[in-house]
């Protein structure tokens, strides 16, 4: 049965149900209320409102601040807004079920003890409210934004004297001294004078950094990882549930990952770790080795990337931002799971005085990865020097253990008066990986090949504001990634883990290597430095200009310990391969019509130079005769984006980009093993158009709809030259278009959901070889184009005692089948990665927001799951996790 129609039907029904729920709940809450309240207590005011609206208000008396009196007239104001106004806080959830309206405070009672609230209005000199203005409580880095009426609400502020600061782009700051009393709400209004101001980084109440990013003009999906930190997932698993994103893994923990965003894969997608491209950080920074516990948020950029992060990504990128707050925090977790998997993560932040702080993040992973799989295995007979046949057997992988350590230590200085932030730190990683097979699962497994990696980097960040107009940012790293590969075994293994050579010496690997064509014990260093500097200037009337420069330099050099591989003095590893990149961006931003319209445009210059040994023409003379080849390229790119906030809860956005990706080190220089160099390789280019709608259909249902068109040319693909060698070449022109839809919301008080679906077409529009004419109009193979995710979370609060929560999550994933290569009329099942359904389930019990326990069952159906042809992923597996935070 073709699953597509069924899935489409389920999708449509699900969507209809969601919309129906949304519609039903809108009716009563959107009902207009006209009432005048004079010196009434909150309880009386709510009763009068409910009488007029004809509804039943359901709330806990103990949650009501009865000391406050209401004096306000409402004229045709929606019931939801009236309730919120009377309650005096936006930290409530208002849920309607028929004529019954329930008011649920989102802040716990305990946290409100000995605290008070602050609210008010921020307006300009003419009295017009300023939506989106910032309010900041000095010394706490706590604040918020004004709503569309210019109102702000800051709740649960510890009692005492404070200085509160209001600011808005294009206006001068205003600061007032206030006193917060217990269980009181203080009203403080601000009138800002037109001038120049600059926003500081704030911790926003009500809107997380992730939520802010999701509302930019460029298309961004953000995952607020803080909500998931109690669970056992890693970053790769979380990302795999984002619309338009597929993270394909070639095995278990620590296996290679391939990011696919709307059909773009491989090097076309950049992965950034705290803004630094991972290709400069080495193998210790893999998506599937980063535990979610250490992550603050994950940003998924589709198409245009902001100039302060983007480099030369072709169609988007992923930035993983770790917890780097200067606020005091502790977070430790330990996870144990199937296949002897251990994952330990911790983060620690300690303020030192009022300006200094130190931050430590670390995680350690280990897994045997010895999951079971069906495999074709050679059979042997005693004393016969060849295999006698094959058999299909179910085995456990036996040479696939993986371990990794990643730690970073930062010391920071934050001086708000001087608008100065400094951060200096060090990144350290160590990785060890046994290799069980190559790209495919071979009949002969590998039993000895190993990979080890080490990364050491110093990192420095600077942020400095000059006057009210200028802002300077710098971020840089310098260090090295070391890769040690040992592939020098002559032993032949079978899939039962037996060393056949030790039993029958007549059977051995004559070439002395398992993966590589020749034996190799290599030790290669990549010396990298990445530097990013940005200068922004703010002008009146919501206009700003930013100039950003990215400079990266890589020098790969090392040595091959098996001297037989090269004539003495001719090891090209020792001569080194260098690539330098300069990317300069000029970005302008303008807000119009009371910030309802946002315009963004960027012009980029790409320049790179390379130098390395052309191993194709290597002679037999001395090292000085090694053919050194240099090249230099320069090109331009640009992008523009627009966002229109046409309703306070809805906006449209669109972006266009002419993007470019500079070839990587390996693509140009080869790998000194099977990939030969190509110094003529040209950058890949892509023209991307994205358009989207983001809307809150109700308080409970949110929708994110995106459409994209992409035209790529000069695609860099690996060309097989012969049985031993391959090289990267510029190839086909590809066109793709598709749509992705995401719905999030709450079905009941306890049950919330996340659902998304992605479908796109990606086809070849032009080819380089005449004989491949027939491919024009055909889909690009080996790319999943139809997939969907559904996540349900059921939460129970106050279990056993107050502030304990119990959360049950169920996640389902569907990926439609796709062919590894172009298929003919006659289907060859060997070419297909089958349709996959995966279901994961988890249970998290949280004790007073400090200790949490999680139990997770992955692949409940024990389905055969594949991201890469012939390489199965783990079957049903389990994990438990305990996390302590304060």
């Amino acid at each position: 049965m073709n699953p597509k129609p069924l899935l489409q039907l389920i999708t449509a029904l699900f969507l209809a149900c969601c919309l129906k729920v949304s519609y039903a709940q809108q009716n009563i809450l959107e009902q207009k209320v006209t009432i005048t309240l004079q010196n009434q207590s909150i309880k009386d005011a709510l009763r009068n409102v409910s009488d007029q609206a004809g509804c039943f208000l359901n709330y806990a008396n103990s949650e009501v601040d009865n000391t406050r009196k209401i004096n306000k007239a409402f004229d045709a104001v929606p019931l939801r807004d009236v309730i919120q106004e009377i309650w005096g806080s936006n930290q409530i959830k208002i849920i309607a079920n028929g004529r019954t309206v329930k008011i649920i405070p989102t802040a716990s009672r305990s946290t409100r003890a000995k605290k008070g609230n602050l609210r008010g209005l921020i307006k300009d000199e003419k009295g017009a409210p300023l939506p989106g203005a910032t309010i900041l409580l000095d010394g706490t880095r706590t604040g918020g934004f004004t709503n569309s009426k210019g109102e702000y609400f800051l709740n649960n502020i510890p009692v005492g004297n404070w200085q509160v600061e209001a600011s808005f782009v294009g206006y001068q700051k205003d600061t007032k001294d206030i006193t917060i009393a217990a269980n009181k709400t203080l009203i403080v209004d601000f009138t800002l004078q037109e001038g120049v101001s600059e926003l500081d980084e704030v911790l926003v109440i009500g809107k997380t950094k992730a939520a802010q990013l999701a509302e930019q003009a460029i298309t961004i999906n953000t995952v607020n990882a803080q909500e998931l930190q109690g669970q056992t997932q890693d970053v790769a698993e979380v990302l795999d549930r984002v619309e338009g994103v597929r993270i394909r893994q070639s095995g278990g923990l620590g296996s290679q990952t391939n990011i696919s965003i709307n059909g773009l894969t491989g090097n076309s997608i950049r992965f950034y770790y705290n803004g630094i491209p991972s290709e400069f950080l080495g193998g210790g920074f893999e998506l599937n080795t980063l535990p979610i516990s250490n992550v603050d948020r994950i940003e998924v950029y589709k198409g245009v990337m902001p100039a302060n992060i983007g480099t030369d990504a072709l169609g988007g990128g992923i930035n993983v931002a770790t917890n780097q707050s200067s606020l005091k925090s502790r977070d430790f977790s330990y996870q144990y799971g199937s296949f002897n998997t251990h994952r330990i993560a911790g983060s620690f932040t300690q303020p030192l005085g009022d300006k200094w702080y130190v931050n430590v993040n670390a995680n350690y992973n280990y897994s045997d990865n010895n999951y079971e799989m069906e495999v074709e295995n050679n059979t042997y007979a005693p004393n016969l020097p060849f295999p006698t046949g094959t058999e299909m057997i179910r085995v456990r992988r036996f040479h696939d253990a993986f371990s990794s350590f990643l730690g970073h230590v930062n010391a920071g200085y934050l001086n708000k008066e001087k608008r100065l932030s400094l951060k200096a730190g060090v990144y350290l990683t160590a990785t060890s990986r046994e290799v069980q097979h190559g790209v495919r699962v071979n009949i002969i497994p590998f039993g000895e090949m190993e990979y080890k990696g080490q990364d050491t980097y110093l990192k420095f960040d600077l942020s400095k504001g000059f006057s009210e107009k200028w802002q300077l940012n710098y971020s840089g790293i310098a260090g090295y990634s070391r890769v040690m590969i040992t592939d020098s075994s002559q032993s032949v293994y079978d899939w039962n883990g037996n060393n056949i050579t030790s039993i029958n010496p007549a059977i051995f690997r004559i070439n002395g290597a398992e993966l590589l064509g020749i034996p190799s014990i290599s030790d290669v260093y990549n010396y990298n430095t990445v530097n990013r500097v940005g200068l922004t200037r703010s002008f009146k009337h919501n206009f700003s200009i930013g100039l950003h420069h990215f400079f990266a330099y890589q020098d790969r050099r090392g040595r091959e310990e098996l001297e037989i591989n090269y004539i003495a003095g001719e090891d090209p590893n020792q001569t080194g391969f260098q690539i330098a990149r300069n990317i300069t961006s000029l970005e302008v931003q303008k807000l119009l019509f009371k910030q309802k319209l946002e315009l963004l445009a960027t012009l980029k210059s790409f320049q790179y130079t390379t130098q390395g040994v052309n191993t194709l023409t290597r002679g037999s003379g001395t090292r000085s005769e090694l053919p050194i080849v240099t090249s230099a390229e320069q090109d331009w790119g640009y992008n523009t984006a627009i966002k229109w906030q046409f309703h306070k809860k809805m906006f449209l956005r669109a972006s266009y980009e002419d993007a470019l990706r500079i070839p990587t080190q390996t693509e140009i220089f080869g790998d000194l093993q099977t990939i030969v160099p190509n110094f003529s390789l040209q950058p890949e280019r892509s023209q991307n158009f994205n358009a989207g709608l983001k809307a809150d259909l109700s308080d409970l249902i949110k929708i994110n709809l995106n459409y994209f068109i992409r035209s790529q040319r000069n695609l860099i693909l690996l060309q097989i030259l012969d049985v031993e060698s391959a090289r990267f070449i510029n190839q086909n022109r590809v066109y793709s278009s598709g749509v992705e839809l995401a719905l999030t919301g709450e079905l009941t008080k306890h049950l919330s959901f996340v659902w998304n679906i992605t479908h796109f077409d990606i086809e070849i529009r032009a080819i380089n070889q005449l004989q491949d004419d027939f491919l024009i109009g055909k889909p690009v193979p080996n790319i999943p184009t139809f997939f969907s995710n559904l996540g349900l979370t059921y939460t129970l609060e106050d279990i056993f005692r107050q502030d304990n929560t119990l959360q049950f999550n169920l996640d389902g994933q569907f990926v439609d089948e796709f062919s590894f290569i172009q298929e003919g009329r006659v289907r060859n099942d060997d070419n297909w990665i089958p349709t996959q359904y995966a279901i994961d389930a988890g249970l998290t019990f949280q004790l007073k927001e400090k200790i949490s326990f999680n139990f997770q069952a992955n692949n409940l159906l024990d389905a055969a799951l594949f991201d890469v042809i012939s390489v199965p992923k783990p079957g049903r597996n389990f994990a438990v996790k305990v996390r302590y935070t304060y």
Binding site: F386, A506, T617, I729, Q771, F774, N782, V826, D830
Partner: protein, 421 residues
Amino acid sequence: MTRDFLTLLAVILLLGFTSCGGDDDDEVVQTEKQTGYVVQTQSGVGQDISNFIQFFDDIPSGSIDNTQGKSFQQFNVSSKASNFIVSRNISGGDEGYSQVKFNLEGEAFESEFLPTLAFAGFVGMQNSETGFYGDGSTENINIFNPTTMQNTGVIDMTSAYRVPNWTSVTWETYVVRGNDLFVWTRPAIAGSGSFYASDSAIVNHIDLASGTYQSTSFFADKGLSRRTTENWVDGQGNIYFSVGGAGGVGGTPAILKIPAGATSFDPGYNFDYTAPVSSSLGILPVLAGNFEYHQNGKGYTVVSTTVPQELTDFLNANGGLAAILADPDLLNQALALLNASANGQFIELDLVAQTATVIPTLPTVSASASGVTIIDGKVYCIATSGGINAVYQYNPDTGAATEVFNVTAGGRILGFYKIGE
């Protein structure tokens, strides 16, 4: 009653004889095609290469959409016998050889599999019962039964010649003449990549009657013979080896000869067939397609003969030949242009008179992307460049060439085979 009984008995006997008749005949129900023609095309790059395999009961004609066939990521035809083809593992991966048959609908399928320890490269066949294959994990040559795909023995090659500092060896191009097996050595020195690590052609002689290695013969300044073929031996027992002409694996094309009755090269036979037809290339490398012996001392191949216009333009734009030769990067680009250009022609070789004649009735093609095959005693030329993707039949008697079929979809024609010869 009696009549009824007799009638019943007669019916029973009739049915009994009728049913027994089938058993006595022992009729064999065929489940695979026994004879037919196979067209292989290839498209794509990188990991996404598709090999389209389509079966035809008769020699195809007109325009063919080869995507009507079945696709495989890997399909390296090494040899054929009876009603099957032997290829390197068609399920992907390096190890093992697949025996490929065609069901009654003409769909290719793996009927048997012969495992190896490591890299599987080439096989040779004496007949449908005896064949030879290399295994990347042994320096010996294995013997197998191509029909059952079972290993049946080993030829000990440990005493065969090795180039100095060798790290591995691949056995390529098996040629059988009676009880003589000739196998080419492709040596590798670590770090040499795909380049041929010897300055001599190296061929080994094995006596099949005893199953033992006998000797190694060399021909100086010649490269590798790396062509899978079954038509190198003439009616008298002379073996004509085609060497060189392929990028990276060795030198100027030539024909070498092991005379009938001999087991080593004829040192006086060095047929440089490119000299009369490729002189305009100057110092540029000469590429050659595969060589097939036909009959009456004649054979056919395809060789680059002229400097392509696109290369001339490239030379002019980059400071001339001297500048190109001084810059490895430019030289690579020039060689790539030369490789892809339609600057070659099919030629007829008189192996006795050692003369080469361009066949003017066949199209100009890229020598590296075209070839020759002999089917049913007829000469077929595969031409796949310059906008042409077709198979021609050449008639040596009349000199006429006619297009047999062309392929419009499925990529470049990589092979045209007959099974069940």
